[in-house]
Symmetry: C2
Subunit: 237 residues, 2 copies
Amino acid sequence: MNVAIAPAEPASSVSARRTSGLPWPALLGPQAPADAAELDKIALVRSLPAGATVLRRGTAARALVVLLDGQVGCGWAQPGRPLVTDRLLTGPVWLGLAAPFARGQHGCDAIAQSSVRVAELPIDPLRAALVRHPVLAVRFTETMAREVIRLDARLHELMHKDAAARLATWITTQAADRPQPVLRLASRKRDIASQLGMTPETLSRMMRNLSERGLIAVEGYTVRVLDPTALQGLAGP
Amino acid sequence: MNVAIAPAEPASSVSARRTSGLPWPALLGPQAPADAAELDKIALVRSLPAGATVLRRGTAARALVVLLDGQVGCGWAQPGRPLVTDRLLTGPVWLGLAAPFARGQHGCDAIAQSSVRVAELPIDPLRAALVRHPVLAVRFTETMAREVIRLDARLHELMHKDAAARLATWITTQAADRPQPVLRLASRKRDIASQLGMTPETLSRMMRNLSERGLIAVEGYTVRVLDPTALQGLAGP
DNA sequence: CGACGAGTTGAATGACGTCAAACACAGTGG
DNA sequence: CCACTGTGTTTGACGTCATTCAACTCGTCG
């Protein structure tokens, strides 16, 4: 599963314009604006094989990038090293949202972990479209706002909470959605670990720690929450 | 200087509508959009004394907040504790930009360190104005995008760089702006430390470390960069 | 002068990452 | 059916970096 880093890909594996609908509600917010169809006209969809470089850190960001389906790892690729994965994204999700708007460069390397489909929205036609469709522009503002909030929260966690507290928060929020206090881990533990800003070894230890304290029960990829209150307390204020 | 946390302030110390121009170029980007004047009609300006609570974490964010002038500390206020300052902001700067757009809550407490003037833009009229003035909406998106990039960079730093590297990057970027390789620290070292995600003690040690290695020379609040290349190297790739 | 806050320094503690070995499990080919 | 292999996880030992606690200095203000 650990995919080697492929050499630079010319951006043209399978280039095809698509007018068929892209998943805008999932990307821009629940109430799909009717104008979103406009974006389909701008979007360029392409497919990439596993191991391909989707984004390269430091290159100019001329287009917004959406991961339609498949999985990519984001992080810093060092020549020789496998890839320091900060987070693992599964489509549909924004892959490069902010950088193009700020005329900046991509902030991290993104490597396809499976075969993926991505859509690109070149920034200049997009800007023009947003000026013509103000409601859409507001949706982008809101989407970016959610991103800011997400990052802000993660920053606070990393600064002020230790590994146990971060795991506790994560389990709490994951369990909050479901009816039963049982969660089945969807991705590899090493990916969960890097998402939480710790090593797989530490995650393992923290899992054991929490189960020894009777807060959770772990069995393979199944985690049962035994003491939600104590868990929330450990997660912090 | 360490200001005690004042009890809850009703939001009406000095309420005054102002049609006089607010510093939009500094807030929304260099090329001031002509439409920005529209925002003045929405803005409510108020003044607060030192020690006042400007934002309270967890309260609903119904208006964007701009710090016009003065200084506020952002962080988590604990009853009893002085204030864990994540960062110190000096106006003009956005104080609460993202949360209102996402119908969210303020993510941190903000306490006035000096007497301050803030402007508030209630979200509903603002949304309406953005729909009428799409260019303005795009400016907000861009502003938010810069915020995302800033947060992303900070997150990477915190995850992957040790204290010395973080300090080196900070000094490097601070010194980049000025003609001479000398910088005078504008805020207390303890605030710089928490901005860099370390304790004042660690900052002090790192300062000494760097000067022992001949990279910088420290004298009180004056830091002279002696070896910019080595400093940049230490800062990482 | 004494009190206070900011900064520095040292020693002790602790949290987490790194390295290495062992283990579990699935897939594969003999 | 059974070794064999590769991947993912667990566990332990160990080292390192940074925080914590405490003492001490320095400058300012009463």
